[in-house]
Symmetry: C2
Subunit: 188 residues, 2 copies
Amino acid sequence: MSQNKDRRTAILEAALGLIAERGFHGTPASLIAERAGVGVGTIYRYFRDKDELIHAVFQDVEKRQIEIITRNYDEGRPFRERFVHLCRNVYHCLMENPLEFRFLEQYFDSPYGVEQRRRLDNLSRPFGRLFFAGKGQQVLKDVPDKMLYSLVFGPIAFSIKEHNAGFLQLDAERIDLFIGALWDAIRR
Amino acid sequence: MSQNKDRRTAILEAALGLIAERGFHGTPASLIAERAGVGVGTIYRYFRDKDELIHAVFQDVEKRQIEIITRNYDEGRPFRERFVHLCRNVYHCLMENPLEFRFLEQYFDSPYGVEQRRRLDNLSRPFGRLFFAGKGQQVLKDVPDKMLYSLVFGPIAFSIKEHNAGFLQLDAERIDLFIGALWDAIRR
DNA sequence: TTTCCCGGAATGAACATTCATTCTATGGTC
DNA sequence: GACCATAGAATGAATGTTCATTCCGGGAAA
């Protein structure tokens, strides 16, 4: 019973790690099976085919991320404070698990993820509410939400890539510096 | 003589288009040959293997982009004006050729492009000089160049993706609105 | 015994790459 | 000009490899 759960999880984790490291190309089912400590055939007991496996990995990752992003989030706090909190959480959860980040990168920019592009909205729903309120209170620039998303997520994703590639050291202080700049970009 | 040039070019263009549309996976050499109006074997006359072809496509695209970005660029103009000019050109050249943009996206976020990540520096060298001057004159935030890059290229890339996916209409006016926000993010 | 789950060898499809052969262009000879 | 010889480019069928997926023998649980 929990054996099932464990195997499935092992396969998902192996796939996540391998795909993050080697891309979709470079990770044959045989490798996934090997790292998961499982026979090749077993993969097909849990997932119809490789595509289904990959989408399952995505959903798994997404679920965890949403959980982290909204952790300790209090809609009652002042506006800027909420923004900083959310951004910190985003940085946190993307930097904490570089594997997940690399997987998401690949996923969204590949045919797999194109259909799911809208799902980004899930990740950013709390931001959506924040932006709505902010525009209403004339705190934020009065531009389409998508523009605000771009101004916030664009730099975050870009900077984490640079960080992971070793070109930019991102410590807590730098991150707050960044978030300050993001705020400057979206504030009225 | 120019026949050679033409064939090579035809192969590069076919590869660019197909990879942009279908990803690295989905484009076998046979398809590239077919679209280029060329025998499969011919590809291997011009490129050692598929990897070399893909890197060649990248270099080709990069060259054209640099040319466009620095077009009509006058280092003598005032600071903010230069910034706006460069940003407009970046938007312009990335939006003008969605195929090239999609190719670059895939390339950079795949094992192919990781080793070339540094090359982004080529694309952004004029920005580098701008940032250096701007920090010296205390016009820009005194943070690492990579942070400034992230604050500028991150939103640009992100917003163009949204545009290409049909979620955000980007006309000249919007673009200038964007560039204004980018400026707010990096200015002191 | 029956049922269910595993592993991993076996299968076949999809590809990248090669290479024997066919073309084409050039220039020398009459 | 007509003819031929040669070099080197182009071709695509053939090859070998790499997978995703299937299948079957074996063993654990019931």
